[in-house]
């Protein structure tokens, strides 16, 4: 089972470190990262494996939302099935 984490917001030190740190806390394995900085806007799409997640996925979503609020970023964590359903036949 995979999930997709998207992060958008003003660039600052430690975004990847803190997002990946939160993944570690929940035993979520990072599979792929696509990341760019456009002028001072940070954008990242992170694909993660939630097969061995240590808590219910909804808790992980809440925790990521809270991290986003704390850092002033928009962090969106969703199960990959929504993308597969909507964009694949």
């Amino acid at each position: 089972m995979k999930a997709v984490i998207t992060v958008i917001g003003r660039d600052c030190v430690g975004i990847i470190a803190r997002v990946s740190g939160r993944c570690l806390e929940y035993n979520v394995n990072i599979l792929d990262i696509t990341q760019k900085v456009f002028s001072d806007t940070f954008a990242m799409i992170m694909m993660v494996d939630i097969g061995n997640i240590s808590a219910p996925f909804t808790e992980f979503v809440d925790s990521m939302n809270a991290l986003g609020e704390e850092m002033g970023l928009s962090i969106h964590t969703v199960h990959e099935d929504i993308y597969n359903s909507m964009h694949r036949i």
């Binding site: 997709v4 909804t58 979503v61 969106h76 929504i82 359903s85 909507m86 964009h87």
Partner: protein, 452 residues
């Protein structure tokens, strides 16, 4: 690997274009709740609904969080109360409505549908009791929705019921006059009512349905409008293609939610209703899609054609995205619940007769239209009769949910708040259909009914 463009497109659909799942509705059969006293009946109904739907809201909230798509409404529909209550011996069914309301509050759903009767060919004693109980039931409850099917293509139109429903509408409006006659916003008169509709106020759980089922209604007018805006001046073949592609994506989200809710609740998946359901929020309007197609204002010449194109493309796109399609499936045009319709009606561009024409090519009917409070009952009945004729002859569902707002006249406003929105009170044709309505009887089934 998922494409980054697809990810960003989905996120922008949800965040900027109001993509959501409009409703997850659990249909529950109450046939086994029948009892020989009204108190036993109410206890059984309350117990069954609270047992079956106990986890509905929590499960839907979890799914919404995990998939990042909001599920706006969680609702329950039940077997028509006129069937379930037939043997209870009560002289009115208001206590049953209260039991439904209490059960809905206990499980945390905002509406419960099924205070209903199917009288397209005639009344049973229980149907009469139910219909007579509608005004007081809707005035005395918060969440209960009522529907009455008065016509089908197969059996024609029960004009005695049509006449009675005009009176019931006026009485419901009077009893809820302190809230702009809001009771009428929870009452729908149907032709060809579907048994698996997840949308309120017309949802009920048909007798051909299983013990329990999950039905899902999708939405997304804002997503369709944005896609058309991006395509600029493409021709109408391309516009239809674009709407189909967008409807496919929206419906797939609905199918995923339906499948997950069904699996987690251990309840069979019923249908996905392919509908474009607007809300009064800016950017979530069906009227604005029609205007994006090139109309100066919704209601001008060309509106019916644009709506027909939209409705057809939504169905074609959605059909392939879901394993079972049902309910109402089409674009909704509820005046008070659609920012574009509200402003078109306010400016005088959209009138009752144009709305009636529009209902011939979309779902569902004359929906959430405020009328003057002094509209006579026979005029309301005649409005219902016209709409039923469109449904019966065209083999489609049509419905009437109009609000004869007590004490208001044309040009005034009613405000229901929330999803039910607000609307200007519209003018009604002054001619009297009194003699026609007083005739009663049945309008025979049309030739189209003989298909065997």
């Amino acid at each position: 690997m998922i494409d980054a463009y697809d990810i960003l497109e989905t996120i922008s659909m949800v965040r900027e274009e109001h993509l959501d799942i409009r409703t997850v509705t659990m249909g529950i059969s109450l046939l086994d709740c029948a009892a020989d006293s009204v108190s036993a009946l109410c206890d059984r109904i309350y117990d069954k609904i609270t047992r079956r739907a106990e986890r509905l809201v929590k499960t839907c909230d979890d799914i919404a969080k995990e998939y990042g798509v909001p599920i706006i409404n969680k609702r329950v529909s039940v077997t028509p109360v006129s069937l379930v209550a037939a043997s209870c011996g009560a002289k009115d069914y208001v206590p049953v409505a209260r039991a439904l309301d209490k059960a809905a509050a206990a499980v945390g759903v905002n509406f419960i549908g099924g205070f209903s009767a199917l009288v397209h060919k005639g009344y049973t004693q229980s149907d009469r009791i139910l219909i007579d109980s509608i005004p007081e039931s809707l005035a005395g409850t918060e969440r209960v929705c009522s529907s009455v099917n008065v016509a089908t293509t197969k059996s024609g139109t029960n004009m005695d019921a049509v006449r009675r429903m005009g009176e019931i509408l006026l009485e419901t409006a009077r009893l809820t006059r302190d809230k702009d006659s809001i009771g009428c916003a929870k009452l729908v008169v149907f032709a060809n009512i579907p048994e698996d509709n997840p949308f309120m106020a017309g949802a009920f759980h048909g007798v051909g349905e299983p013990e329990c089922a999950i039905n899902v209604g999708v939405s997304g007018p804002g997503v369709v409008r944005s896609a058309l805006a991006r395509a600029k001046d493409c021709d109408l073949s391309q516009a239809a293609e674009l709407i189909k592609r967008t409807a496919f994506k929206i419906t797939r989200a609905g199918q995923l939610v339906a499948r997950e809710a069904s699996r987690r609740l251990g309840v069979p998946f019923g249908i996905v209703d392919l509908s474009l359901a607007p809300t009064p929020q800016v950017g979530d309007s069906v009227a604005h899609i029609l205007e994006e197609l090139g109309l100066e204002v919704c209601g001008c010449c060309g509106t019916t054609a644009c709506l027909a194109l939209l409705n057809d493309a939504v169905k074609k796109g959605g059909l392939m995205a879901s394993s079972h399609v049902g309910g109402l499936s089409g674009a909704f045009i509820p005046v008070s619940e659609d920012a574009g319709m509200i402003s078109a009606a306010q400016s005088g561009a959209l009138c009752l007769s144009k709305l009636e024409a529009m209902t011939a090519v979309c779902s569902v009917g004359l929906d959430m239209i405020a009328l003057p409070g002094d509209t006579p009952a026979d005029v309301l009945s005649a409005i219902i009769a016209d709409e039923m004729a469109i449904g019966v002859v065209n083999h489609k569902t049509t419905a009437v949910r109009v609000i004869p707002a007590y004490g208001k006249k044309a040009g005034d406003r009613v405000n229901f708040g929330g999803l039910l929105g607000e609307a200007p009170v519209m003018d009604v044709h002054p001619g009297s259909p009194a003699r026609f309505i007083a005739r009663g009887g049945r309008i025979p089934a049309p030739l189209q009914s003989l298909r065997n």
